[in-house]
């Protein structure tokens, strides 16, 4: 609890949260404005309720896609200094000379940063869905499952960032995790294109990338639950769907792998820190 309190104060002092809050409030306001303008324009041009529902769905998914993007970067920013920044500043010496196990220190720091990022992503997702429901009467398939998967995505990035920061500097860790995050995004697009073309080899490439870092796979899984049935039906009829969302539910093994991934990264992070000279 001591380290959690300290980490929380540290994150607040870094003004990352303040900047994120200001930016996020601005984003939700902008989303509300754009959503209401776009939705009223569509409502005027068509009397088909399913067409309005599809447009509402696309706008909502785009808003949530931006939210997960922002949340991912906030997570990476917080997590990449979990250990490295403490070593660079020399703060770790006086803390670790106390009767405190290294695993506890690491778990408390990573847990605090992860918890903060999770609260952020849940609040922002809730805000976007509220705007969509208030203006367009949007009803996602299962928002709670979607939020749970986004929280798992945060956990994946925190565990990866914390693990790498036991060996790399803050900047290097940030660069590596962003690169892997970008790779995962690319893998998701490749998988989407492969699905549209029916190319199994390409599809396998996408799967391998999602095993290497399952962040995009988790977003795609969440995006399924954030869509409304009309949008999913339209995607099924087109046989394509949105390039940055999934029209099929996430598989059990996919979610299980993400959980195992977090556990593996966490265990390796603790082992790495235990073996590290301070």
């Amino acid at each position: 609890m001591i380290i959690m309190r300290l980490s929380l104060r540290e994150a607040i002092s870094r003004r990352v949260l303040a900047a994120s809050t200001v930016f996020s409030v601005g984003f939700v306001g902008l989303f509300w404005l754009a959503y209401s303008l776009a939705f009223s324009s569509v409502a005027e041009s068509t009397s088909d309720p399913s067409e309005s529902a599809v447009v509402a769905g696309i706008l909502t998914i785009m808003g949530l896609y931006t939210v997960q993007f922002l949340a991912s970067f906030l997570t990476i920013l917080l997590a990449s200094g979990t250990v490295a920044s403490e070593i660079d500043s020399g703060r770790i010496l006086s803390i670790m000379a106390r009767p405190l196990p290294r695993w506890s220190w690491l778990a408390q720091r990573a847990g605090t940063f992860g918890g903060m990022a999770m609260v952020y992503v849940l609040l922002m997702t809730g805000a976007v869905l509220l705007v969509a429901a208030g203006i367009g009467g949007y009803q996602p398939l299962n928002p709670l499952r979607g939020m749970a998967l986004l929280a798992l995505q945060v956990a994946v990035l925190v565990a990866l960032g914390a693990g790498l920061s036991t060996r790399f500097s803050t900047v290097a860790t940030g660069v590596i995790v962003v690169a892997l995050y970008g790779l995962a995004w690319l893998g998701g697009i490749v998988e989407f294109v492969a699905g549209a073309l029916g190319n199994q080899t390409l599809e396998r490439v996408g799967i391998v990338v999602s095993l290497l870092i399952p962040s995009d796979a988790l977003w795609r899984g969440a995006s399924y639950y954030f869509q409304n049935p009309v949008l999913l039906m339209a995607a099924e009829m087109d046989d394509v769907g949105l390039p940055f969302a999934s029209s099929v539910p996430p598989s059990g093994p996919q979610v299980a792998w993400a959980v195992v991934y977090v556990l593996i990264c966490g265990t390796l992070a603790v082992r790495s820190l235990n073996k590290r000279d301070l």
Partner: protein, 343 residues
Amino acid sequence: MSLDARDPMVFDDAPAETVSPLPSDTTAPTSPPLRATGLRKAYRGRVAVEHLDLTIAPGETVGLLGPNGAGKTTAVKMLLGLVRPDAGTAELFGVPANQPRARRGVGYLPETFGQPPWATGRQVLSTHADLAGVDTDDRRAMLDRSLYRVGLAGRGEEKVGGYSKGMRQRLGLAAALLGEPKLVILDEPTSALDPVGRREVRDIVRDLTEAGTAVLLNSHLLGEVEAVCERIVVMHRGRVLTDRSVAGLPTGQEVRITTDGLTAAHLAVIQGHGMLGHHDDRTAIVALDDTDATPELITSLVAEGVNIRSVVPLHSSLEELFVRLVGDAVHDDDAVGRKGAGR
């Protein structure tokens, strides 16, 4: 001993803090606060510490000396379980140093006491009091006492980011002393302090010793070590050159004479007044038979036609010992290197 001129009695009403029992209370009552055997550490093939044996008894104050890069800080970190030794063992109160419970009852001031700049001095101390397991009814009074002890009374509400280097070092010392540890390890505790601050730290170390606390003082300030330590351990290039009692050092009756030139005849005159130590064609160190014999020696040398530039009494015999030990070690290493290169 307080660092501040204010009346220390002002805090007497505050309840005394207690800490969790030391491991030694339950596991090994006879174990010394610190015991290291055969510690070795190398970084990428370069040896930082080679076969370090060190034991510190309760209430003993040991000075760890050595030039830059001697391996002192690595040694200290191994003793605290912060660095994993390649070989050997380190125990604190009979418990392996890499186990967190071994560090109960240990106070440590690192060479750089890095603290979050956004925190106040009081917040930093409060966090360390929590980590050290200090249990007190009146946390505020306890922290006031700690700040007062290191000369930071009234500065606890200021952010550490605004502290000077010296103030941060004082704060680090206060953190290290929280909970009345039975072993205190100080790594260059006065490097950022002015002469007054250094004296104050010396007083604190003496108080710790009187209270039965074992102290390991890592410093390159020989006078400081000589003033407060009972024992010195001199390291160079990872090796221990000597581990001896300060009381056993020479008496300090040496003077260093610097001239325009010294001949064999002049050296013979010097030997008439004491034991000739290190000398070359211009300088000589002599341990005088009588501490008051300096004017007589000067008169004799001038009578021999020696042009004397300076005569400096060597108050710190430790300094001479240190320079001799390290200088000899460098000479020996160089000789070995040349021999190896010549093969």
